[in-house]
Amino acid sequence: MTSRSESPWWTIALSEEVTDKKPLAVDLDDQPIVLWRDKQGIARALEDRCPHRRAPLSLGCIRDNGWIQCGYHGWSYEGDTGRLKQIPNMKDEQRFPPIYKAQAFAVAESNGFVHVNLDPKATAPAPADRTMPLAGTAHVALEQSHWLDALYDDPGLVIDIKGVEFTPYLMSELREENGLFVMERSCLWGKLHWPSYAKAEFPITLLTRTRPDTGETELVLRDDAFNVLLTVRLAPVPAARGVTQIRWRGEPGLNLKGFHARRFRRGSAFTVREAIDATALRVLKPSVSLHGKKLRSELAAARTVAVAA
């Protein structure tokens, strides 16, 4: 994981998953995190570990005043700083030394996602409120870097867009553009047609823009008239034991033309596959992902030079 000094903002939950009713346990690599909303409705994040006896705080509850209470001994912490506020048997004692606190993390919320930065002093990104109506959470038993490589090399192994067949042919190879890794893949509607290698034209393409640090990716499906058919924001987060937690939000385009595109308005247009065909994955030839590795190393080298200068 990135060191704290350059710690990125990770999209760790959907806004509606974080409530003032029940704490939510998530993790970032091996770092367990508990999320909840305080009395003001602000999302809070602490290390999911009570500093008293190391029990997960997520097994506790949220009190009426917005503090999180450990389920083991009832120690209560406030979310902003993680400071200990109350011990049940010591209710007369309202002040505790500053060291009595749980590890707090920075939290920000935008576009219907909750973001966490392991650096509690990190500056929050500019807020944005364009919450797309479709949303989902998936857990995949594949490391985040492998999951992203599969998304580059054969998206059909890890995601499903209703009625869409991903081809191996690209409109543009992976490149760096304004700090994002961008590529565009040709796609077909999944109906009776000539095989993709024999098609002269492709009716749709999938534009992919990925943040190199977190892997957060925007997918835009467009037709050959440049109408946006579907937009999805994917946030694959490395979790414990090599699992990848993927939160996503999406919305169909406004100008849906044709039978297949209009189907996006009904049911689920997009899903992340929780079960991956391991046989196909094993033999999947790296192609785009190789460019990705090269681009990443070039970015890292450029950063080193910039720091040295």
Binding site: H52, R53, G71, Y72, L84, P88, F96, P97
Partner: protein
Amino acid sequence: MLEVADSPVTTDHGGNEPARVTGNAMNAVNNWVPHDIVMRDTWFPIAHAVDIGKRPVRRSIYSHPYFLWREDGKIVASEFHPNEARTREKSPYSDARGRYPVMEHYGVVWGWFGNPEAADPAHLPSLPFLPPNGGLPGYMTSTIRFDCSAPISLENLIDLTHADFLHADVVGDEKSDSETVETFYDSETVTMVRTCINKSVAPIMKFFSGIRQPTQNVRQVIRIYLRSHCAIAYGRFTPGDDVPLFHPCTPETRDRTRMEMVMNTSNAGFMFRHIMPKAGYKVSRQDSSMTSPQSPRYMLPTTRKDLHSKFDQAGQRYRLQMMDLVTRQAAGDFAYRDNVSADCSDIIGLRKELFRF
């Protein structure tokens, strides 16, 4: 203010032990890696005596196999199953025939773990509320397992403030007019006495023992025999009943615990006598919901210190005493400096008139 690891505590025998150096004491409390603790030369309770017949049953202590059966009515503990083809060397903890020292007392089968030649009934913990020859009805006994290390389970027991919170629906909440906690210890035991005046009545007593008053006075004692990982939990409730519990935490492996529980409710009314021992099934699941995720977090050393409150004094003392024994054993000293089989009735405040055998 809250760090109380060095608060003065007294010993069972009133001895004047040298004061601990602060730095060392704090290290012992915070360098707490219970997963690494392996106690030797001690009796571990491994089965209820009534569960052992002619057919061998398997138990384990720190992953060492203990096969138990009866030969001419006498308990045998062997490292090998009678039908087992021997493909492994015997351990140094059994005799030439591969048999461990074993004894039957208090209705429990005790297996010796350590040097077989050092096995001595004099090292058996005193449990004065249990009939020496057993014979309590089956509903007062049960076997409960915890997927955490045994020292974590014992620490959970001696930490009474969690009971007011985690087990409030069984034993009542933390509200009381006054509360005092005293801790006594020697080289083999730690005893905590908690006295509460006008504490909220335990719901289980309200429902099954007919207590109508809103509050009751409570004297709770936890006495831990460090080496054998056994504990006494004795509650005296006024109004209410006396509830003495034998709560062993036998380390089947370094992070799995088996409890051959015995609760002597002979003196309680019919309903409470039958229901209270069953509360262990509920309480143990509540404990396990915390100790199970807690246990792996204590498996490796960390530089991060646990926080403590003044109510953790007994738990801290337990950690210190346990680590003292660990240090002694690591240096090859397995001698008993204090007598664990001496009658502890007075130490735990047992109302002897209720428990005559």
